[in-house]
């Protein structure tokens, strides 16, 4: 692997240089409490926040947009025309992605780029550039027990904080090309930087409120399928708004809808994010619902996030803490899992 060091004062120049590679998105403060990835113009480079806690919307939205036109159609001719936007659009340069979100993207890849790859997702993902950044956890984070606090692939560049700058790990050919083109920005990595990195990791690992790993959580969850208290108590609080699934970096359910235009002939077929917390998610023809109660839908999310994964990591949950942080009902996902685990 190739390492270079970026001094703190050069970060602005670095961001400006990144704009040559596509549309630059980076985390900025969007409200008193929340951050979000937004498009960065030359004037906004100063607003980029490097030590944000978590973004409101997950990075998957750049490759799997919340609302995407798949086809335009002509209903009289019964013809559909592929929407080329995903294939012709500018590449997305996503700056400042945390390790857990990069793992989240890899989980998305495992579902969307499998033996029957989704053409729209793949087109966007293949040209996109991911630039990660190291972070320190807050009380909502539990990526360490999900083994998502560190990544060694899935990014083009990864910035790890050291005392007076960032050590950049190069993770792909695209990353090499960016470094080659902007070589004058960097300095050599020293022994001190290497030590700083280790110190940062030690500091980080001490900041987590949970430790060990939760690989066995899937079995604990299954054994507590009939937990006397937790499911009823927590799902009773749930508003069924679907915020947890919208902000989740690995949720990928979608619905397909046709929107006709007023001329009665043309229109668009779009896919929009769906949520398993909605009543319609398990509904089939004839009115039967496979998840009729709020409790069953609530439980389904816990199972899907913790027990269904076969690829990349041991769970589809990466421990980013978004579903707790953004829950309007104050349901504490992390605390509930700890409770199911017996308080550990």
């Amino acid at each position: 692997m190739r390492y270079v060091k970026l001094k703190k004062e050069k970060i602005k120049e670095f961001l400006l240089a990144l704009q040559d590679y596509g549309e630059l998105y980076a985390p900025i403060k969007v409200s008193e409490k929340y951050f979000d990835f937004r498009k960065i113009t030359n004037e906004q480079v100063d607003e980029v926040v490097l030590d944000y806690n978590r973004t409101l919307r997950p990075p998957r939205r750049f490759f799997f947009p919340e609302k995407e036109v798949l086809f335009t159609f002509n209903s009289k001719k019964v013809e559909m025309y592929e929407n080329k936007e995903a294939f012709t659009s500018e590449p997305v340069v996503l700056f400042g992605v945390h390790a857990c979100d990069i793992v989240g993207l890899r989980i998305m890849d495992s579902r969307f780029i499998d033996d029957q790859p989704d053409p729209y997702y793949r087109a966007r993902r293949e040209k996109g550039i991911i630039i990660g950044i190291s972070c320190l956890p807050d009380e909502y984070c539990f990526c360490n027990v999900r083994r998502a606090e560190f990544v060694d692939s899935g990014f083009d560049l990864f910035l790890s904080e050291v005392e007076d700058g960032y050590v950049i790990r190069v993770g792909s050919v695209k990353g090499h090309k960016i470094i080659d083109a902007t070589e004058n920005l960097y300095v050599e990595v020293t022994k001190k930087d290497s030590d700083d990195l280790t110190a940062f990791d030690v500091k980080k690992s001490k900041m987590f409120t949970v430790s060990g790993n939760w690989d066995s959580l899937r079995y604990t969850l299954e054994l507590n399928d009939e937990h006397p208290v937790i499911w009823m108590r927590e799902s009773e609080k749930c508003l069924g708004c679907g915020n947890c699934t919208i902000t989740c970096p690995t949720c990928r359910c979608y619905d397909v809808k046709d929107y006709p235009n007023l001329d009665g002939e043309t229109g668009v077929r779009v896919r929009i994010w769906d949520s398993c917390q909605f009543r319609e998610h398990g509904l089939v023809a004839g009115g039967h619902n496979f998840r009729p109660t709020k409790e069953s839908r609530f439980k389904n999310r816990y199972m899907c996030k913790n027990a269904y994964c076969k690829e990349v990591t041991t769970a589809y949950c990466v421990g980013c803490g978004r579903c707790t942080y953004f829950c309007p009902a104050g349901i504490n996902y992390k605390q509930n899992l700890i409770e199911i685990r017996g308080g550990i």
Partner: protein
């Protein structure tokens, strides 16, 4: 739990997975008040020539402007060039499909799903149990078995519905009676909620004792509402049918058909399935090891 059953089916010849092929409605047959059978043919003959499916697979029927619905194919997989879909008027899209007339065009993509592992059925007796709309996918299996009659042992089909006028393909099965007798095919038709002069009364599971075939060397294919499966399983296992050879098909709200949209996602840590690519046909052990399948 065989490799073949879980082999993921990949349709080829499509640039965009979500793109459809145009099909023309050739005939519309009214089955019951709510169900119609549509006969489709691909407009592009090249596509039609190469388009094959397995019994139990489904297609996504697309009406631009209205939406898409997953519908299982009900014609014989041996007869190439056209296919039939039995569609119940249940929702927005199917109501619109019911308005189609011969000559109208729809978009079709698929076939999707694993389908019944028919090669596993060869050389064995076959018991088919359908309840309500479940007759549609099982008709595909039934016709396939008739077209390959020499590959199968004795065949019994139980067709059940709530009311006499909801019994799907009843007249077709009736018309087969003479041939069926000559070919060792037993046809049982039953209605659960009314007394009908020429039908048996009661649920399909209540008529299992009338089935002529030998349970030992049999395969069973079930299709109906999830509630029926539970009672059938108990009965069938009790009657010494081999659990490994009991297959069911499931229904979910599949939006994509290729394991992306997440609506048919079910299971637990050891058995995690997408009904559209790992199913919709599952065997008995899949069903008992995967919670949520029958709920």
């Amino acid at each position: 739990m065989t490799e073949e059953l879980h082999r993921r089916y990949i349709p080829d010849g499509q640039d965009n997975l979500y793109d459809t092929h145009k099909c023309r409605v050739l005939r519309v047959y009214k089955q019951t008040e709510m169900d119609k059978v549509f006969l489709f043919r691909f407009i592009d003959q090249e596509v039609g020539k190469n388009w094959k499916f397995k019994p139990g697979q489904f297609v996504e029927v697309s009406l631009p402007g209205i939406g898409e619905v997953p519908i299982s194919i009900c014609s014989s997989a041996m007869r190439i060039g056209f296919f039939q879909l039995c569609i119940r008027k249940a929702g927005r899209v199917t109501t619109k499909i019911h308005e189609l007339k011969p000559g109208d065009i729809v978009g079709i993509r698929g076939p999707y799903g694993n389908g019944f592992p028919m090669e596993k059925f060869f050389g064995r007796n076959l018991l088919l149990v359908a309840a309500g709309l479940g007759m549609a996918p099982l008709r595909s299996v039934f016709l396939y078995a008739i077209d390959n009659r020499w590959r199968f042992g004795d065949i019994t089909i139980i067709n059940s519905a709530k009311y006499e006028n909801e019994l799907l393909f009843a007249r077709e099965l009736e018309a087969m009676r003479d041939i069926a007798e000559a070919e060792n095919i037993q046809i049982i038709q039953t209605v659960t909620r009314e007394d009908s002069p020429n039908r048996l009364k009661g649920r399909a599971s209540e008529h299992l004792d009338k089935v002529m075939i030998d349970p030992k060397n049999s395969t069973v294919a079930l299709c109906g509402p999830p509630r029926m499966y539970k009672s059938m399983f108990e009965k069938l296992v009790e009657m010494n049918y081999d659990p490994r050879r009991i297959f069911v098909t499931l229904e979910r709200r599949m939006k994509c058909g290729i394991g992306k949209c997440g609506h048919c996602n079910l299971g637990n840590s050891t058995s995690w399935k997408y009904a559209c690519i790992d199913g919709p046909v599952f065997d008995y052990y899949d069903i008992i090891s995967t919670p949520g399948m029958l709920e």
